[in-house]
Amino acid sequence: MRYLPHSDADRAAMLAHIGVASVDDLFASIPAAKRLKKLVDLPLARSEIEVERELARLAAENTSAGSVPSFVGAGAYRHHVPATVDHLIQRSEFLTSYTPYQPEIAQGTLQVLFEFQTQVAALTGMDVANASMYDGSTGTGEAVLMAHRITRRRKAVLSGGLHRHYADVVRTLSGMAGDEVVTLPADMTAGENLIKALDPTVSCIVVQTPDVFGNLRDLSKLAEACKANGSLLIAVFTEAVSLGLVESPGAMGADIVVGEGQSIGNGLNFGGPYVGLFATRQQYIRQMPGRLCGETVDASGQRGFVLTLSTREQHIRREKATSNICTNSGLCALAFTIHMTLLGEAGLTRLAELNHAHAVDLAERLEGVPGVEVLTRAFFNEFTVRLPGRADRIVEKLARRGILAGVPVSRLLPRAGLDDCLIVAATEVTTEADRAGFATKLKEVL
């Protein structure tokens, strides 16, 4: 087996050195009745060529988003990732390193995390960011628990524009912890009144912008109302590129900002691994979940970085920790930071403008298709349309014609009675021909 260095002669010599007769003697502590006498019923070892062949065959059964015009979004977005990013994250020293608990030989990872935290804080308009969460949805679940710790209240209100899978993650975690969650009905046009949902027991309001239907939401008034009520405003986003063009949640008054960072530097990967962004105000840092990287000096006075405030974390605090999180999303955070470094302020702004322009162009083209109505007034690169028929069936028909048309609302909300609605996204990678073709073929299948 190509990954195992020992020869049988090595093994025999090592066993002799240890002073046992066979390797099974080293497993003697396993009760004999529970020891396997033969191999488990699985195929035997295979060469690199054979493994490559088998996995390539499975991969070929999938329609990759890059091989056809794709307009699928709703929480994950297909963007162009520069070749430099993937090269750098495959550097051995990044790829095969551990969590930087030994800072003297992990300054690379630590400095990257410090840069990541700075970028995320700037992007979200917040004071501080942590070194990442698993993804946006789990980060949202953690944000709600954090709000409960700060406010000492145990009720969360979830906007009807919050991605339904995010709401499900929050409800699962909060439900298990015994906390109350109020989920408002699906809100396709951002018409709900969240201020009305505030009462003295509300710990936090969770609202997404751009929301799952694409609506951009102004959070300023809600933030003021939350403040007056002693509640926290948790702002969520799933499209990080939007922050290049749209007002940041921090500037609108959010107390905790959680987002999915996949759009920057990371591929679709069928849903993971992704990278959760998590930022908050200075006064709440000791209630944050996850790892934090901080600046310090070494014994000779040189600047260096370490993981810090770890007394919040499970390996120190055990059952009193702020979260059970251990591993985060280091390599995806690295990809995010490298891509963001390549973009810079100028590049991110341009990228965001390009996304918006392509989405507006697509909306105009779809509005020209008889029977199709664009429901979203203010949006970034994603919006919802009403179709004259069931969206899931139309999406299947278009898939057969080589177009990935978007996400039927019924896939996220099967019982909301919104079966004729479709969430559509356009990014910098959709071409004019893609957008024109979508409108043409949609007309054909309707």
Binding site: R2, Y3, P5, H6, L15, L26, R35, L39, L44, R46, L55, A60, E61, N62, V72, G75, A76, H87, S92, T96, T99, E104, G108, F114, T118, D135, S137, L145, D168, V169, T172, M176, E247, S248, N269, R291, Q302, G304, S310, Q314, H315, R318, A321, S323, T327, N328, G330, L331, T337, T341, L342, L343, R350, E353, L354, A357, V360, F379, E396, R411
Partner: protein, 518 residues
């Protein structure tokens, strides 16, 4: 141009090597400023076309101020992050004997496979008819994990080990609630030697934690467990092999005792690498166990994630598995994404888990096969015992001189009176070119040193490691404390002031204050 004519070709003098350099660099070891000190707001390393003119539909929400980001051109970006990478130690750099973390070789075939567009470039919400190959890969991974563990069900979606733990404990909580005992069964038993994630996970979902003392030999006794059992106990969380590197000999009896008392057995699978193909958790009475794909199945640690933590479940817990889960409909696979109409306890994450890690783990498993996986476990245990045997005369073992599983545990008894601590020894290992072992864990052992070489190390590599450790041990005992207490001397940084970092947290770069004349 290389021209030997007319220039000196001898090595020259070796003196004067210690002078400081103007740049602070030392040849290949380069100092690197922070991005924000070298980047510019108007610089970008990405060429994008100007956007087509459209009627903007942002409402009134266009950003008013600058973000505060900076950029670098592509060559500058490359150099910045390559230089930073060179300040990191990875498995590819040298031996990484970090106990409990299983830092084994990360095959690059895994990386290549995960980047096939058919896996890397598919959207989690595109029609299921267009991703049947991806669903088949998930089914295959599930089949391998269930076969290796003799468990009838698996939930793939948890994003990391602690997240898998959470999913497993949620399934237990849901099963207890379904029995109508949610109000009464609120206690989880956790040994003192457990990973910190275990008590943190139990507490996160409202359980209270009751500690189980370890026996003098480092294992948990069924008699002790029975003393703590009662109608208020929901589960035990037990790591096996345990964090002392020992197989729990009474594990099956403990499982029986838990079941007899109406409680469940959660097994922390962090140390599964020791026993793959040798014994199966399902045969030991386990109800739920997470599997760290980034440990046992070689997906890269990436400087702290992403991980992946599928959790296998017993018949009793299977109905409560979270969405999404796979269902076969003839030749088609279907991903069930909504809990309604099932007993599923809910959802762990927005999409289907860590697909990128599934592909890597699958490439690893297919490469090894049933025979190679067993051989890997045997070699991992062999290597740990080889190190144990090579150091046993110089370093003390807390539970006597017996074979261990995949990691060898020492305490700091042997350092008594030397002025050298476990931490000092770890930092001196850095100077010798090694990543330190896990230290001060498990908590039940004083000054613990937990060494896990994994199966990836050759005999020559192990021999050199043993000799280096013996040299350090003898130096400590001979009174050369300065080799340890100031270490590391040769790393990119000397020891860092963690107290200062925590007292005055600086968590992001801020522009230096302008210097003003008095």
């Amino acid at each position: 141009m290389l021209n030997n004519q007319g220039r000196p070709t001898a090595a020259g003098s070796a003196e004067g090597a210690g002078h400081p350099t103007f740049t602070g660099n030392r040849a290949l070891v380069q100092e690197e400023a922070l991005l924000f000190e070298i980047g510019r707001a108007d610089t970008t390393g990405v060429d994008l076309p100007p956007p087509p003119k459209v009627k903007v539909r942002l409402g009134k929400l266009r950003r008013s101020g600058a973000i505060g980001l900076v950029g670098l051109s592509e060559p500058e970006t490359m150099r910045h992050y390559v230089r930073l990478s060179q300040k990191n130690y990875g498995i590819d750099t040298g031996m990484f004997p970090l106990g409990s973390c299983t830092m084994k070789h990360n095959p690059r075939l895994n990386e290549k496979m995960a980047r096939l567009p058919g896996f890397a470039d598919i959207h989690p919400l595109q029609p299921q008819s267009t991703v049947q190959g991806a669903l088949k890969l998930m089914e295959m991974l599930g089949h391998w994990l269930m076969t290796l563990t003799a468990m009838p069900a698996v939930a793939l979606s948890p994003k990391a080990g602690a997240h898998g733990e959470l999913a497993g404990m949620m399934a237990i909580k849901a099963a207890i609630a379904a029995r109508g005992e949610a109000a009464t069964r609120s206690v989880v038993l956790v040994p003192e030697s457990a990973h910190g994630t275990n008590p943190a996970t139990a507490a996160l979902i409202g359980f209270s934690v009751r500690a189980v003392p370890a026996d003098a030999d480092g294992t948990v006794r069924v008699a002790e467990v029975k003393k703590l059992l009662g109608p208020d106990v929901a589960a035990i969380m037990l790591t096996n092999p345990n964090t002392c590197g020992l197989f729990e000999p009474e594990i099956a009896a403990i499982a029986d005792a838990m079941h007899a008392a109406g409680a469940y057995f959660y097994c922390d699978g962090a140390n599964f690498n020791a026993i793959v193909g040798k014994t199966r958790p399902g045969d030991l009475g386990v109800d739920a166990m997470h599997i760290n794909l980034h440990k046992t199945f070689s997906t890269p640690h990436g400087g702290g994630g992403p991980g992946s933590g599928p959790v296998v479940l017993s018949e009793r817990l299977a109905p409560f598995a979270p969405v999404p889960f796979l269902r076969r409909k003839g030749s088609r696979l279907e991903l069930v994404e909504h809990a309604k109409g099932s007993k599923a306890f809910g959802r762990m994450t927005a999409f289907h888990g860590q697909m990128g890690m599934y592909v890597r783990a699958m490439a690893y498993m297919l490469s090894h096969g049933a025979d190679g996986l067993r051989q890997a476990s045997e070699d991992a245990v062999l290597n740990a015992n080889y190190i144990r045997a090579g150091l046993a005369d110089l370093m003390s073992q807390p539970f006597g001189d017996h074979p261990c599983m995949h990691e060898a545990l020492f305490d700091d008894q042997w350092l008594k009176g030397t002025g050298v601590t476990t931490l000092d020894l770890a930092k001196a290992m850095i100077d010798e070119g090694y990543h330190p072992m896990t230290m001060y864990f498990p908590l039940v052992v004083h000054g613990a040193m937990l060494i896990e070489p994994t199966e990836s190390e050759s005999r020559a590599s192990l021999d050199l490691f043993i000799m280096a450790m013996r040299d350090l041990a003898m130096a400590a005992k001979a009174g050369h404390a300065e080799r340890f207490t100031g270490a590391p001397y040769h790393a990119p940084r000397r020891r860092l002031d963690e107290t200062r970092a925590a007292r005055q947290p600086v968590l992001k770069w801020t522009p230096p204050k302008p210097i003003t004349a008095e």
